[in-house]
């Protein structure tokens, strides 16, 4: 910041005349370890009193070189990397990756697997949206609304745990399907969840949705128009809040999403309140999808017949030569993949999560690139908060659902 007689030059090159400034110009570090950033990223705000003039972003604090790591790992070992992108909805990342590899291998997975995947992915979407919406509550000063949904979210984590043993970084499923069918405990817990969740959800929703304080606080905060959102490459709930009904599940259905009846909620103003409302409605729609998928769950195997990628049962490994060979090849990462390149995308918790995979036939991908939705839309943040108050910057940040793991890869 340089001060001359009557002009002030900001770090982004913008020049302001002193007459237009109310108070003193100050620089504030919003992050990297600020309690309201919900992740490790920095915004250097230049403020005039309470009003934000410019914002400079620093990202990359938790960059872990996933794309480079992936070039050294066999395909099944890349799944745990994908967990650590958007860790609020890891199963979507895992299953999206499995589908990408299946597309490269040109494997058709059984209908039952597709429905099972839909159930798991929609549960993950609910968990993701619950976190994001409850954090908007926290940042508007309502801590109770953060704690309430956690007891429900816990039930989703128990469902993950039943299927894969893990809760946060799930590594769920396998290339070709799942390692096991839904267990009796899973069935029981899912039924219980479907029965109790809607009531608990609506009770929590009632705390915020028509709450005068919450509405006054979030309406008009951090708005973005549909046109600007598109230019910035927004996808997911943030784009839909601006009024554009793009959803990968509808435009390029994967995993049998075309079988289900659901609607895509859209907002009008693209502000924090609309983003909140879009997510809340998506939770209801996700529940609808889970009901449909679970009630019509087809019979059949829980994995595709691809012995080169799907681990045989342990008892077969001891008694059957083919099973032993395949077990060895999979564990050592020696399964052959065809040469080719694919792009596959799924509707992640916060937008279009894409996998661009190039294979040269080797044991590991030649190149793997993730389309990380929040990396692409987070660059619009300075524009969204320009001219707003600092407290609006906080709720805007929590409402666009930026996940540091995904942002920094």
């Amino acid at each position: 910041m340089e001060h001359t007689d009557n002009l002030i030059k900001l770090s982004n090159g913008q020049v302001l005349s002193k007459e237009t400034i109310d108070g003193d110009i100050a620089t504030i570090n919003f992050g990297p370890t600020h309690p309201a950033t919900h992740g490790i990223f920095q915004n250097i705000l230049t403020v005039d009193g309470e009003k934000i003039l410019t914002s400079e972003q620093t990202v990359g604090y938790i960059h872990r070189a996933f794309e480079k790591l992936a070039e050294r790992r066999p395909y099944n070992q890349i799944t745990p990397i994908t967990d650590r992108l958007n860790y609020c909805s890891s199963p979507i990342n895992n299953l999206g990756w499995h589908m990408t590899v299946e597309k490269l291998l040109q494997v058709e997975v059984p209908k039952r697997v597709q429905y099972m995947r839909v159930i798991i992915m929609e549960l993950a979407r609910i968990a993701d949206h619950l976190i994001c919406d409850s954090i908007i509550g926290v940042d508007t000063g309502a801590l109770t609304s953060f704690f309430y949904p956690f007891s429900e979210r816990e039930k989703i984590y128990e469902l993950y745990e039943e299927m894969c043993g893990a809760r946060l970084t799930t590594n769920i499923g396998r290339i070709g399907g799942f390692d096991k069918d839904f267990t009796p405990v899973f069935h029981q817990k899912l039924k219980e969840f479907l029965k109790t969740f809607p009531k608990a959800f609506e009770e929590w929703n009632g705390m915020l949705e028509r709450n005068r304080i919450f509405m006054d606080r979030t309406k008009g905060a951090g708005p973005i128009s549909a046109e600007r959102a598109l230019a910035y490459g927004f996808t997911g709930p943030n784009l839909r809040a601006a009024g554009v009904d793009y959803d990968v599940r509808v435009m390029h259905p994967y995993s049998s999403y075309e079988d289900f009846d659901f609607t895509i909620p859209v907002g009008v103003n693209g502000d924090t309140y609309d983003r909140f409302m879009v997510r809340q409605e998506e939770i209801r729609q996700s529940l609808r999808i889970i009901h449909q998928a679970y009630n019509n769950l087809p019979e059949g195997p829980f994995h595709a017949d691809i012995p080169e990628f799907f681990l045989p049962e342990k008892k077969d490994v001891y008694n059957n030569m083919e099973a032993l060979i395949y077990h060895f090849k999979i564990v050592m990462g020696e399964s052959d993949v065809p040469v080719g390149e694919v792009y596959h995308s799924v509707e992640g918790g916060n937008g279009e999560l894409g996998y661009y995979l190039i294979s040269d036939g080797g044991r590991a991908p030649y190149r793997l690139q993730f389309r990380r939705p929040c990396f692409i839309y987070y660059q619009a943040y300075p524009e969204m908060i320009s001219g707003a108050n600092i407290s609006d910057a906080v709720i805007t940040l929590s409402s666009i659902n930026v996940i540091a793991g995904e942002l920094d890869a």
Partner: protein
């Protein structure tokens, strides 16, 4: 719209700008020369029928063995009107690779181009802030290039031959 009809319309629109084309799995991939990439994408974006309105992804790939075509810049475009994707590739030599920035067309290209610069060293001309983004500024190499191996080359206890690599 299928990939074949898309290719026909692309030939009408872009003509000789298309150097090569192929269909990989479900997506049409075309190659254009680096000088024409910006114009081609601009024409695709502004065309009323094709209307490739959305930039999905920008990335790069390193092919160290292909002489004068070592670096490949890949643009993923998406036409929501026709619900079809298109991938545009363009190849650059490894010495001083540079290509025109897409930031005048798509604001979302900004960080994606910075990331591509950060990891592959490709300069985007006309970019408002061509600096590293995920790695630290002091870094003096571009880590996604294939000559930089992931693991420590001096280690002797991890012999690739024993792992079939």
């Amino acid at each position: 719209m299928t990939n074949n009809t898309l290719l026909e319309s692309l030939h009408t629109l872009l003509g000789t700008k298309i150097v090569a084309s192929e269909i990989l799995h479900d997506t049409l991939v075309i190659e254009v020369t680096p000088n024409e990439a910006f114009n081609a994408i601009q024409m695709l974006k502004n065309d009323a029928d094709l209307s490739f309105n959305f930039l999905t992804l920008i990335g790069a790939v390193h092919y160290p063995d292909e002489k004068d075509r070592e670096l490949c810049v890949v643009y993923h475009l998406h036409s929501w009107k026709n619900a079809i994707r298109l991938r545009i590739k363009t190849y650059l030599p490894k010495d001083n690779p540079s290509i025109k920035s897409l930031t005048p067309l798509f604001d979302g290209a900004n960080w994606q181009e910075r990331e591509t610069f950060d990891f592959f060293g490709i300069q985007f001309e006309g970019h408002p802030n061509m600096t590293r983004i995920l790695n630290m500024d002091e870094m003096d190499y571009h880590p996604m290039l294939k000559q930089y191996h992931l693991e420590d080359e001096t280690r002797e206890d991890k012999d690739d031959r024993f792992f079939g690599r």
